[in-house]
């Protein structure tokens, strides 16, 4: 493949900056990599000699493992740095940490950070290294959105013209934002729903339809995407009275799932809070594609690494 030259980005900070062509290229590339993951020997030499650093300032199992596998399956050297085991605890600045990693000639830094804008901050300061945002605060989580799109496309054959409901704490969800931008760019209608305390202002201006009644939000949609509710939100910070009440009014269950189109799919970025935002009957039901999302995550991340670090030698 010589598609590396066609990809105009040095960093992947958010889906807001990705065009339709960019997303199509990423998805097409991911589809071709998916086959590798199904082989007996799941390894190609594509990124041999490249160094990829997972710099994680927030806990993550799924995303970090997924990026690590993506790198390893393309023969890159991948290492993981987590905030608890690095100089971060000694008070080093983010810039210094990142520049030290860059000085060791890393090709890509994949970063998760609790502060919105942290990957943007790195991208502005690093000179050679590419940055992939693996989730920053409440801002963006682009690789999650791209794997969501890949999964939707596999099931629906297209994205254009579909209606997707995303339900949960929209205000504090980087997944919701990345999915909104990517889905809108690809021509889908996006409904965002949750308790009014979890709906930030300005979503309509960003192209979303906003609901506070989950039944209305789900009606006749092609895709229902549930967001993880952080259990520590209960009571303490005024966003919802109890998890019990949240489950009563905002969880996806077999009853309200009937409001969606009969062939609608159920998605969740994980990890699941069974019995809170999603009932196990739906999470494990026939319409769920949750593990396919996880599988596609590796392929999408291989595609992103390839497009940033692979391709032509001159790059």
């Amino acid at each position: 493949m010589a598609m590396g030259e066609m990809f105009a980005h040095k960093h992947i900070i958010g889906t807001q900056q990705l065009s339709k062509d960019d997303i199509e290229l990423i998805l097409k590339t991911a589809e071709s990599f998916k086959e590798i993951n199904q082989r007996e020997i799941k390894k190609v030499p594509t990124l041999r000699g490249k160094t990829i650093v997972n710099l994680f300032y927030e806990n993550s199992t799924r995303t970090r493992t997924s990026f690590e596998l993506a790198g390893k399956r393309m023969s890159a050297d991948t290492i993981n740095i987590s905030a608890s085991s690095s100089s971060v605890t000694k008070g080093e600045t983010l810039e210094d940490t990142a520049k030290n990693i860059e000085a060791m000639d890393a090709d890509v830094i994949i970063m998760r950070h609790s502060c919105s804008g942290a990957p943007d901050y790195l991208a502005q300061r690093l000179t050679t290294c590419s940055v992939i945002n693996a989730g920053d605060g409440f801002h963006e989580h682009p690789s999650q959105a791209l794997l969501d799109l890949m999964t939707i496309k596999e099931h629906k054959g297209k994205i254009d013209g579909l209606t997707v409901a995303i339900i949960g704490d929209i205000a504090r969800s980087r997944v919701a934002r990345s999915d909104l931008y990517a889905l809108k760019t690809m021509g889908a209608t996006v409904r965002l729903a949750g308790p009014a305390t979890m709906i930030p202002p300005g979503l309509e201006e960003l192209g979303a339809e906003v609901y506070t009644d989950i039944n209305e939000a789900i009606k006749d949609v092609d895709v229902v995407m549930m967001l993880r509710i952080q259990l520590e939100r209960e009571g303490g910070n005024k966003l919802m009275p109890t998890l019990r009440e949240y489950a009563q009014f905002f969880a996806l269950n077999t009853e309200n799932m009937k409001l969606a189109k009969p062939d609608a799919i159920v998605m969740h970025p994980g990890p699941l809070n069974r019995g809170v935002e999603i009932s196990s009957y739906v999470a494990d039901g026939e319409q769920n594609v949750i593990l396919e999302q996880v599988e596609n995550g590796v392929a999408v991340r291989m595609a992103l690494l390839y497009l940033l670090a692979g391709g032509s030698e001159e790059k």
């Binding site: 600045t93 502060c115 919105s116 502005q124 409440f138 801002h139 930030p200 979503l203 960003l206």
Partner: protein
């Protein structure tokens, strides 16, 4: 010792003066304002032909960081930046380390400014000891020490009863209470204005109501107590409306706006620009329009910078944890003159917001060219075109969102007590 400033257009709003005339300073004080003063025998004659001669500008809201945070700014560098911006007097906020809640620190600031600084410094002391919002400072003693008002700036006085008692007590000493109005609970950790941009950037929003609701409380407490209230850095349309309404009802209130709040909107935060992070946050375009309306109709009394110098280490971090504030002393005048260009203010009104009206808000005996007053003068070229180069700032700090901006208008010379404190090359 005499200095004669000849051929300038003298604008002194404190005495409704706008005329081409000469200004004589003698023994450090304004001695004579007249046409064609004879320069014979006067050693220093300054030709101000084509320039505007005004009272030395007054900025009633700055942070000098001295004592305690001299790595950010000190009284020498802060007052030098003031002089370069045409200012001869500044009022400095008490959030030093330790807090200026006692006469030892107040005296230190006044004396250091008097003997080593490039501008007069009028200290504002905290309302409560240590700015903890609990017990009142020794207001009478601090007045004697030279303090001009009380503020817990940077922090709201959360307890309404503490603020009420502070107003009652300060008022009896003829001293204003200066409010930083921001409800911490409603602010709820917000780091920029609540709205579409915050939603896009994934940053927690600080809504207008955090400011306006507290201003409403403070205005009513001022009404109840009859105290003099000055509201710092208003930034929202509702804040303006509340103050306008209170003034109509006779509440003794004044207020200020910063140049950044009438120039920039929340859009400036995009890209996680830490130099556009401040408290109160940059607001919507409608709020910016309201600030201009408030200046035009006189609801807003003063333009004040909230000059907030920070070291690069305090700013070069993730947006959420970056320090609030920007430096403003050297860009205040040209940003204010843009309002003249936009026909929102006359040049006389603009100068008034930066001199006599600002001084009056805190009873500072400056901002005038009346005979016998201190020889504090700014000589301004409103047409002088220049580009902001933050590396050339006289401040120790470099935090400004206006770097590289094309500006029109600057102080060409600044004099305090008849001595030149700044002269542009």
């Amino acid at each position: 010792m005499k200095i004669l400033i000849k051929n300038g257009r003298v604008i002194d709003p404190s005495q409704d003066l706008d005329a081409n005339m000469d200004l004589l300073i003698e023994h450090g004080c304004i001695a004579k304002l007249a046409e064609n003063i004879d320069p014979n025998g006067i050693e220093d004659v300054i030709d101000a032909d084509g320039l505007v001669v005004t009272p030395g500008l007054v900025d009633i809201h700055v942070h000098l960081r001295d004592p305690g945070q001299e790595y950010k700014e000190d009284i020498l560098t802060g007052t030098k930046a003031a002089a370069a911006g045409g200012f001869t007097s500044v009022a400095c906020m008490p959030n030093t380390v330790p807090v200026n809640d006692n006469k030892a620190i107040t005296g230190y600031i006044i004396n250091k400014a008097r003997y080593e600084g490039s501008a007069n410094v009028f200290p504002i002391c905290s309302i409560t000891k240590g700015q903890k919002g609990e017990s009142l400072v020794e207001m009478g003693d601090l007045k004697l020490a030279g303090c001009v008002g009380f503020s817990d700036d940077g922090l709201n006085v959360e307890c309404g009863d503490v603020l009420r008692r502070a107003m009652e007590y300060a008022n009896a000493f003829g001293m204003p209470i200066i409010a930083h109005a921001e409800d911490e609970a409603i602010k709820s950790g917000g780091v920029m204005n609540e709205g579409r941009v915050a939603t896009e950037l994934g940053l927690l929003g600080n809504p207008w109501v955090a400011e306006a609701s507290t201003i409403a409380r403070d205005l009513m407490l001022a009404e109840l107590t009859g105290a003099r209230l000055h509201v710092c850095h208003i930034s929202t349309r509702r804040s303006l409306e509340l103050i306008r309404n209170a003034k109509e009802r006779g509440v003794k209130v004044t207020c200020e706006v910063t140049p950044h709040h009438f120039t920039l909107t929340e859009e400036a935060v995009r890209g996680y620009n830490v130099n556009a992070k401040m408290g109160p946050p940059l607001r919507s375009a409608d709020d910016v329009a309201a600030m201009k309306e408030g200046l035009a109709d006189g609801t807003i009394d003063a333009i004040a910078t909230d000059h907030a110098p920070h070291h690069i280490d305090d700013k070069n971090v993730e947006f959420n944890v970056a320090a609030n504030g920007l430096i403003g002393l050297e860009t205040s005048l040209p940003l204010t003159l843009r309002l003249v260009e936009e026909k929102i203010l006359s040049i006389n009104e603009a100068i008034s917001c930066l001199s006599d009206k600002a001084a009056k808000a805190l009873n500072i005996p400056r901002g005038t060219l009346k005979i016998g007053e201190p020889g504090d003068v700014a000589i301004i070229d409103p047409e002088y075109e220049w580009t902001v180069d933050v590396t050339a700032s006289y401040s120790k700090a470099r935090n400004t969102p206006f770097d590289d901006w094309e500006m029109k208008g600057a102080a060409m010379m600044t004099l305090r007590d008849g001595r030149i404190t700044f002269e542009r090359d």
